[in-house]
Subunit: 210 residues, 2 copies
């Protein structure tokens, strides 16, 4: 199809499509004449993925590029690609002043050991968890760690259904894409659900349902 | 204390503190002479809250201002302030092309009814959930809705411990601050936990623990 149809099918404007091609997010179309390129279904799917990562996931253009590089690198073994793709969509927090981070890292290591979880060197999620715990400590909410086990129970349950969903994909690209989409949009789904559940619990605890 | 000490105590540079005062995020210090202002413990606490919302929560300066306005408005009844504060820290997604949003809103309304949850007009979390579901649909991951109940179970469990934690606060400001901090940082905590649990589940499902 031509770029105009690609634009109509995806709701992404022609200048934006050209921008994505220049930025290396979207492969160029196949040249059919010196001034015209042809695009296929792979472009439609890739564009939708880019928009979802941008609009729903809130990733930067640079972040999206990293995720796509992991998806497209056919040399890497599947489980490494899945891990890397998931790791790249971990929000990168700026470090605080570092006061409580060492203590928080120890707490995270203890939690992982206590639950019998396996993890790997450089798992950014463990670091992100330590950063969040250190921030809670800085804010005088150090007692929040008492509820971490309930969070971990809930996270295990959600991860289980996530993987059941992902495992139904057959092709490598579909599998990696599911992990990326499920990781990013799953955050949004859970965050929204948690807020709706807060209203419910708040009504129960403070007795002010309307 | 003087601005230099405030900077040392919080790890926030003097120019950044002045920027926050100009932007209305931090109340000005009390003038003790034409060129010197004095700051108190309330400034320390407020600065830490701003940094946590910025570094961990990823909120914009405008978003932080909205949250602080809700905290500081003493006229509003408590439950409304809690609801508004929580609502303001919902990530605002850009709308997609709107194709599947009406269908997704119906699904969210059904889910809320089926679970017997109460909600209120203009709950941004319900809209955020519909946006995420519509995005999944656009990406060909419409089957993901089958796992929404497991997400809702997990969200209820987390919301319960969140509210238990928050209910221990006594003062209004502490209560609202706990809701804001717990909502934003709780997202980060859960997202990190979910990723660590993914590694665990992935090893189980794909048999590649190392």
């Amino acid at each position: 199809m031509r770029i105009g149809e690609l634009s109509r099918r995806t709701g992404v404007s022609v200048p934006t499509i050209k921008f994505y091609v220049r930025e290396g997010l979207l492969p160029a179309g196949e040249l059919t004449s010196p001034n015209q390129a042809s695009y296929g279904e792979a472009h439609v799917r890739r564009l939708r993925l880019i928009r979802a990562l941008l609009d729903v996931g809130g990733l930067s253009v640079a972040g999206i590029r990293e995720v796509l590089v992991a998806i497209d690198d056919s040399e890497r073994p599947l489980h490494m690609v899945l891990g890397e793709a998931a790791n790249r969509v971990v929000p990168r927090y700026e470090r605080g002043d570092g006061s409580g981070i060492a203590e928080a890292r120890k707490r995270v290591a203890e939690l992982i050991r206590a639950r019998g979880w396996h993890t790997y060197e450089g798992n950014l999620a463990a670091e992100a968890l330590a950063t969040a715990i250190a921030a809670l400590d800085d804010l005088g909410h150090g007692r929040f760690v008492e509820v971490l086990d309930a969070y971990a129970d809930a996270a295990e349950r959600v991860a289980q259904v996530d993987l059941e969903y992902v495992a139904h994909q057959v092709a490598r690209e579909g599998l990696v894409e599911s992990v990326v989409v499920g990781t990013v949009i799953g955050d949004a789904v859970f965050a929204a659900m948690r807020r709706i559940a807060h209203v419910e619990e708040s009504g129960r605890v403070f007795g002010e349902t309307t």
